[in-house]
Amino acid sequence: MRANTPSSLAPTGMSPAGRGLRYSRDTLRRLNVGAVLLAAASSAAAYTVNLNPAAPQEIYLQVGVGAFTKNYNVGGQPGINTTINTVSTTLATGVVGNGTAQAMTTNSTAAQSYWDGFTFCTVPAQLYIGGFFRTTGATTAAAVVTATVPVALTDATGDSIPFSQINWTSSGISDPPTEPFPAGTFVSGGVQTVGSMASNTWNESCWTFSYLNTQVAAAGTYTGAVLYTMTAP
């Protein structure tokens, strides 16, 4: 027997929470998914979309560019994007260590959400972070996203800048003030929680990074990589 069955990611019974300030996006999403929408969940101070449980249990984490066959809300399936995006800043000569935070930019081109295609982040100023945690039915503990942070950024001659010199704010176009991946500051040499998501939800934020610039660092190009890990119970 051969039968066409809906994708395991078919957008049945999805509803966004925290929609109060995202009228334009919600309108767009309604146009996209039409009748499959159910009533909105109770408002929450973040952009979180409720997903219907489906097999298989699955998690998806995207920091920077991502990979999807098409948007989730029209049946898209997640993929692996092996790109590693960079967040960087080049200081002007006269401001090194003057205590004025320096904006960082990213080479990520991810402005749209793979949830619904909505232009959510402003690039190159912001870095997209988002994903989903879907179970086969049960409501479980939240999935946690952590950042594994090196002690310092280093240059080719062994100089270093503590990772704690980098912080970030969190927002998103049409988003309410509170985000699922909130603002923070790196903890040098630590593993820190940067967000979480309840089972059967899609969550996303846009991060704007800054170099705090509170110390005079030796001249050089400093690099370091942060590993983000999403763990579902």
């Binding site: 920077g64 004025t100 960082m104 100089d159």
Partner: protein, 208 residues
């Protein structure tokens, strides 16, 4: 049923291969039990090399941007009649800090710094009379930074000192107070005050 078996095989293959993805911007994992998905972001901060020297009037080096200020301060010593050559030091007038005192600072991030104080000769009155720069002393006292910037002693030629860096960074300052020793009795006149009369001391910082 065949569809179900194929799906299980596919998921099994995914579970085997996904852990090999060491770095990525997006990953997903499927299946029962604990799941992990990872993403990596590189961070880069580019720090330019710079060297800042201030003696006297200049831009702030604690807040805002370092800028070039083309001002040359004038320190004047005027021994009173009857006290010329008495050996009692005479305080100066002028400088960006009252009392013949100058703010002095060096900020740099490329290693040790050499500071040179250079004169073109003894102070002259333009009539052939002169006073050696060794009659002027410089006393350094603490300012805003924890590292005191000592002053190179003045002479009729040049003198220098090395300001050591810590982790390639130099951040030192002081208040330099100039005094006239007044141990000689020169001819009456106005000495220095301009480049023509050797009245300018040029301080030069060089990152090694």
């Amino acid at each position: 049923m065949k569809t179900s078996i194929a799906l299980k095989l596919l998921l099994g293959a995914g579970a085997l291969t996904l852990p090999l993805i060491a770095s990525a911007a997006s990953t997903f994992t499927s299946g029962a039990g604990t799941l992990n998905a990872t993403a990596t972001v590189n961070f880069t901060v580019v720090i330019p090399q710079f060297l800042y020297l201030r003696v006297g009037t200049g831009s702030s080096y604690s807040t805002g941007a370092l800028t070039t200020v083309n001002t040359t301060d004038l320190i004047t010593f005027s021994p009173a009649v009857g006290a010329v050559g008495s050996g009692t030091a005479v305080a100066g007038v002028g400088g960006d800090i009252p009392g013949g005192t100058e703010t002095a600072a060096i900020i740099g991030n490329g290693g040790n710094v050499t500071l040179v104080a250079a004169a073109t000769g003894p102070l002259s009155d333009g009539l052939g009379d002169s006073i050696s720069f060794t009659q002027i002393t410089t006393t350094a006292t603490g300012n805003a930074e924890p590292t005191l910037l000592a002053a190179p002693p003045l002479s009729d030629t040049s003198s220098s000192e090395t300001v050591p860096a810590t982790n390639k960074v130099v951040k030192a300052d002081a208040k330099w107070t100039f005094s006239y020793l007044n141990t000689v009795t020169p001819a009456a006149g106005t000495y220095g005050g301009s480049g023509a009369n050797n009245g300018i001391v040029t301080y030069t910082a060089t990152m090694l």
